[in-house]
């Protein structure tokens, strides 16, 4: 209260203590406050808020699209892995199939060769048997002839005239007996 300058500036005695209650300055304060608020509002609505909102939206969009892209890539990788597994399985199956086929072919070939060899062996054996039989028959025939001649000679030596045919029949019977 003792300060004359303050009192002069504030005018009304009531406002001496509190400049806040000096009503003569209210018009000034309110005017400039309204101007300030309007300016701030215009700056915000025209420039600041759309810009910051845009940046935030853009960032959210970028993050979302990145996530989507990552998801896509992951899906592709999974697909590629599955395709690789499939190809591997296919190759294995094919390899197995080829091996089986080859084995079967070899088996068949082998069997055919075996059959052929067996047939050859059988043919040879039959041939040999025929040859042996022929030799044996020949031998038997020779023995029969020798036996007949010998028998005839023995019969003649005993001075008995015998019918050749009878002698032969007797000899043949004996030979056949031996043969049997």
């Amino acid at each position: 209260m003792a300060d004359p300058i303050t009192e002069a500036a504030e005018g009304a005695g009531q406002a001496a203590g509190m400049p806040q209650l000096d009503f003569s300055t209210f018009g000034n304060q309110i005017f400039w406050l309204v101007v300030t608020l309007v300016v701030i509002y215009l700056i915000l609505i025209r420039v600041a808020l759309p810009r910051i909102g845009g940046v935030l939206a853009e960032r959210a969009g970028a993050i979302t699209s990145d996530l989507t892209r990552a998801e896509e890539l992951r899906r592709k990788a999974t697909e590629a892995e599955a395709a690789y597994e499939q190809a591997l399985a296919d190759a294995r199956a094919q390899a197995g199939r080829i091996a089986g086929e080859t084995r079967a072919a070899i088996q068949a070939e082998l069997a055919a060769e075996m059959d052929k060899a067996e047939a050859q062996i059988a043919a040879r054996a039959a041939e040999s048997e025929t040859a042996i039989a022929a030799i044996r028959d020949e031998a038997v025939a020779s023995v029969t002839a020798v036996a007949r001649d010998t028998a005839r000679a023995i019969v003649a030596a005993f001075g008995v005239t015998a019918d050749d045919k009878a002698v032969d029949a007797a000899v043949d019977a004996r030979v056949n007996e031996v043969d049997a």
Binding site: M18, P19, Q20, G27, T36, I40, I43, V55
Partner: protein, 251 residues
């Protein structure tokens, strides 16, 4: 709140002098258009706000720098506050709420600069802000809800006997809103600045002993920074609450 705590040494402390509205370019009369310290510090608030929200975001970087991060933080903070308190349909009033928040925040913080002028310490300023909110919200409530807006005062969840009494209480509390809304802000800022000034006055005369008031000033200053931000927040969130009442008047 006397301006002098006069002592034998002639101790003169004028804690309220800092709030005097003065013309900047001479003259004694303060007409409504006179360029005063009010004009200066409000303009500086606009400038500081533009520095943060316009200059800081000029690169529109997807990966933000420091200032842009702060601008985005303020934007996101205010936006989610409006959305949480006033609801999804309150979001269209976000620019108005943001205007109020930015003005009070920067006015409060700039007022803490030594030798500055705190525009929000004046009841004229905060009363205009609070009245604008009060009138805007009331008009909005009636325009959007018609007579149903009066449900705000008629508490349907209370017993019928109590409703008239509650209506009177609700009505009084509704009309007290702009008063408390404005005095809370102006009072907090004014009291803090006055206390700082008182301690500064002590520091000026105590000589070597002034270390004590200086320590006190440092502590109170930290508190005042907190108060500056919190009061801006409180004013804004109360605005959102009132807006929410206008949008959804049923209790």
């Amino acid at each position: 709140m006397a301006d002098a705590t006069g002592g034998p040494s002639g101790l003169q402390i004028h804690p309220m002098d800092q709030f005097v509205v003065k013309p900047l370019f001479g003259g004694d009369t303060v007409s409504f258009y006179t360029i005063t310290n009010v004009t200066l510090w409000m303009a500086l608030a606009i400038l500081a706000m533009s520095l943060l929200l316009v200059w800081g975001t000029r690169q529109r970087a997807v990966v933000p720098g420091r200032v842009q991060s702060m601008a985005e933080l303020v934007y996101g903070f205010t936006y989610s506050m409006v959305e949480d308190v006033a609801g999804k349909d309150g979001v269209r009033f976000f620019p108005y709420i943001m205007t109020i928040f930015m003005f009070i925040l920067f006015a409060n913080v700039l007022g803490l600069i030594p030798m500055s002028f705190a525009t929000t310490s004046h009841i004229a300023v905060t009363a205009v802000l609070a009245l604008a909110v009060f009138l805007g919200v009331t008009v909005l409530g009636f325009v959007l809800n018609g007579a149903k807006f009066l449900n705000l005062f008629w508490v349907h969840s209370a017993p019928l006997v109590l409703r008239p009494i509650l209506a009177v209480i609700e009505l009084i509390s509704y009309f007290v809103r702009p008063v408390s809304h404005s005095i809370r802000l102006a009072g907090n800022i004014m009291a803090g600045h006055a206390v700082l000034k008182v301690f500064a006055g002590f520091a000026g005369v105590l000589g070597l002993g002034s270390i004590l008031p200086i320590a006190a000033i440092s502590t109170i200053y930290a508190l005042e920074v907190l108060v500056a931000v919190i009061q801006a927040y409180v004013f804004t969130i109360l605005t959102c609450v009132y807006l929410s009442d206008a949008l959804h008047p049923g209790h």
